[in-house]
């Protein structure tokens, strides 16, 4: 009996919309004043299979999600190790490291758009002041747009990864480090032989969560570039949004959503399966 209210909530808030979206993917639904939905079978999916623009955005989405997740992990690990060390003003530094997390994505995007501004942006001014080219069109040029957006993605996602890793680091018993040091292990060896193995479950969970969040991220890129220039930063979520709310083809957009969910779940399944197997065999 006691479980019923929570099940009810999940059904109403998660399962029902999921099923509605799934059903929608098999219709020709459009957002119109007097909708007439009719069942069209897998037509949306066959149309999608031939839509080269969607798959191009899919490829960009994979590049984005994988590189942001990896860079986040590397950068956050460094930061977490620093914050875990017994340094002065550690408390203050920990608070400062959380700031990006406290900012709404739209604010982050607007701030970074200013930083990247080709005319008067502080980034170009800084490069110019040390004698480097100061006319880079960060978000407007085909070569720099995606890396520039990825850098923002890493920046904004670092705090929660850092905090999670930091919490994990504090669980590692200090004696294991002492024992390793007595056995003659240097700093790097202690990191690979003690820290990484003890953090493995945490690394696995935070990277898989990060991957989902990054793959589904929308607002950051929507404000930064709207998918431009020339579709260079058109993430699949952005593409789906445009199909649903600008082109008003919600049936077709729902089909895109289904494909995205299936692919993300499959990739994650594969990743978690390999990680869990590795954990079973120490």
């Amino acid at each position: 009996m006691l479980v019923l209210p929570s099940v009810l909530l999940i059904v109403v808030l998660s399962v029902a919309p999921l099923l509605a979206g799934l059903a929608l993917a098999f219709t020709d639904a459009r957002l119109v004043h007097t909708p007439h939905y009719s069942f069209v079978g897998v037509e949306n999916f066959t149309k999608l299979a031939a839509n080269s623009m969607f798959w191009a955005s899919f490829r960009i989405g994979m590049v984005w999600a994988v590189s942001v997740t990896l860079l986040q992990l590397v950068a956050a690990m460094g930061l977490a190790l620093l914050l875990n060390a017994d340094l002065r003003l550690r408390g203050l530094a920990r608070v400062l490291a959380l700031i990006p997390w406290a900012m709404p994505p739209v604010v982050v995007s607007i701030m970074w758009r200013m930083i990247y501004s080709p005319n008067a942006g502080p980034l170009n001014a800084l490069l110019g002041s040390i004698g480097l080219p100061n006319d880079i069109n960060w978000l407007g040029s085909f070569t720099t747009a995606l890396p520039a957006v990825i850098a923002v993605g890493v920046w904004v996602g670092m705090p929660q990864t850092t905090v999670t890793l930091l919490a994990g680091l504090q669980q590692v018993p200090p004696d294991t480090y002492e024992a390793a040091a007595i056995d003659g292990a240097g700093a790097w060896r202690r990191f690979t032989a003690v820290t990484v193995p003890s953090l493995r479950p945490i690394i696995t969970s935070i990277t898989s969560l990060n991957f989902i969040w990054n793959f589904n991220s929308f607002s950051l890129v929507y404000v930064l570039t709207e998918g431009g220039p020339g579709g260079q930063t058109m993430l699949p979520m952005l593409f789906t949004y445009i199909e649903a709310f600008q082109n008003r083809n919600i049936g077709y957009a729902a089909a895109m959503g289904v494909v995205l969910v299936v692919v993300v779940v499959a990739l994650l399944g594969l990743y978690l399966w390999s990680q869990l197997r590795a954990e079973d065999k120490p």
Partner: protein
């Protein structure tokens, strides 16, 4: 993003599905709303009961907001039974906003937008049919080309109010220094424009700053100058063609940018207002902008900045620009269509329309207001040139193509951006535009 981060794993993975699910529910709600609304409109509100109309206005220049408020205030004072309440919104992502408002049944009574966007909402049934309600005098005053641009399937669905034309603004000091004669006459040919741009490109100054981040509207509008109509047919049966007429203007911009190097490259990836910074900073001699910039330029330009508006651009086929007027429509779900129309008739009366357009530096959609404006303003702030460009408005084929908005956002914008960044060549652009159209299915 933080809320998404906090979501349980499954919920995050299916967020997009949930979104789609919500909107379908919204769609149904709107239907029910529609049924009751038409019933209520038939019964009509008894006389003497005051009604309140919401008016979602997108005017973003302070002077226009004030002019709009003045018109609304005077109406409210004279009509205690029909009160109009202005709700300020922004042009940014207005179509996403309208889509959700319509789907959620929360659309305002009076809707401000532009013809290119509103036509697709009309064909999806969201707008009230105003054919029988707009006065004949108003229809005559608006003129055939503009009225056609707001007529969908034989139904008038909006009052056109203000029309934007693309104008060339020039820094007179830089033109004088380069020894360029300021062109006069009724129009300036593309070749003349290109020559001036070349002549002024020197000493670290580029000839033109052209904000083409969202290039489609510019190419569609000015492309008529070389017969670039892009589409044949209307509605769902429209077909696309990209030939010499369509390619002429993109080619011109490309040649100016890469052969002549007379366009400041960074501006090609910026919005019009961002490109304006280079113009004010004296880094470019000319800038192509919507005529509305004349309003802010007369106030915001740096002290001593000497600017002029050059004659309207004319391609080989003349100075035609596509008429894509701003519009005021009435929601199909509004319970007070008749009252809203009364207000719109008042809003578009000669003096009111003149005042609003003067504040916005746009061209009034009615002949009488254009005349009033010409008589009142003469040649100050380039008004004579701006009004000249208003003579050649043509109803444009792209307005009546069902998939235009979709083609614009998914196909044409990235294709033109790639072409302007020199990532694809002429043939590549023509191919991307046409094959992308076919993929829309």
């Amino acid at each position: 993003m933080k809320t998404v981060h906090r979501m349980p794993l499954v919920a995050a993975a299916v967020a997009v599905l949930a979104l789609a699910g919500c909107s379908s529910g919204g769609g149904n709600a709107a239907t029910t709303g529609g049924a009751t609304a038409s019933g209520a409109a038939g019964a009509s509100t008894p006389a003497g009961t005051p009604v309140t109309l919401t008016f979602q206005s997108l005017s973003d220049q302070p002077a226009t907001i004030a002019a709009t408020k003045k018109v609304v205030d005077s109406w409210n004072a004279a009509n205690p039974d029909i009160q109009v309440q202005v709700v300020q919104a922004s042009w940014d992502s207005i179509n996403d906003k309208l889509t959700t408002q319509f789907a959620g049944g929360t659309a305002p009574d009076i809707i401000h937008d532009d013809a290119a966007s509103i036509v697709s909402f009309a064909s999806d049934g969201y707008l009230a049919d105003l054919t029988g309600q707009m006065s004949q005098a108003k229809k005559d005053d608006i003129g055939k080309g503009l009225l056609a641009s707001v007529t969908v399937d034989g139904k008038v669905i909006a009052y056109p109010t203000e029309v934007q034309s693309y104008m060339v603004f020039a820094n007179k000091t830089l033109l004088d220094q380069a020894g360029v004669m300021i062109p006069t006459g009724d129009s300036m040919t593309w070749d003349q424009f290109r020559q001036i741009a070349k002549a002024t490109t020197k000493n670290g100054v580029a000839g033109v700053g052209w904000g083409l981040k969202s290039p489609v509207a510019t190419f569609m509008t000015l492309g008529l100058g070389s017969g670039g109509t892009y589409f044949d047919g209307t509605g769902t049966s429209a077909t696309i063609h990209v030939g010499d007429g369509e390619m002429a203007l993109p080619k011109l911009v490309h040649q100016m940018a890469y052969d002549d190097k007379s366009i400041l490259p960074v501006t090609l990836t910026q919005s019009g207002s961002e490109a304006l910074a280079a113009f004010y900073g004296g880094k470019v001699a000319m800038t192509v902008q919507g005529s509305y910039l004349a309003a802010s330029m007369s106030k915001d330009a740096p002290a001593g900045f000497d600017w002029v508006v050059l004659p309207p651009l004319a391609g080989p086929d003349g100075a035609a620009q596509a008429a894509d007027p701003q519009t005021l429509s009435v929601s199909a779900d509004s319970k007070h269509v008749a009252q809203a129309v009364k207000f719109l008739e008042y809003f578009t009366s000669t003096d009111n329309l003149e005042a609003v357009n003067e504040a916005d530096a746009l061209i009034p959609a009615t002949t009488s207001a254009q005349q009033a404006m010409a008589a009142k303003l003469g040649s100050q702030n380039g008004w004579d040139q701006i009004l000249k460009s208003g003579k050649d408005f043509q109803s444009a084929p792209f307005l009546f193509v069902d998939k235009y908005a979709q083609w614009k956002s998914t196909v044409a914008t990235p294709a033109f951006q790639k072409y302007l960044a020199n990532q694809i060549d002429d043939a590549g652009l023509a191919n991307a535009l046409t094959s992308g159209w076919k993929q829309l299915g």
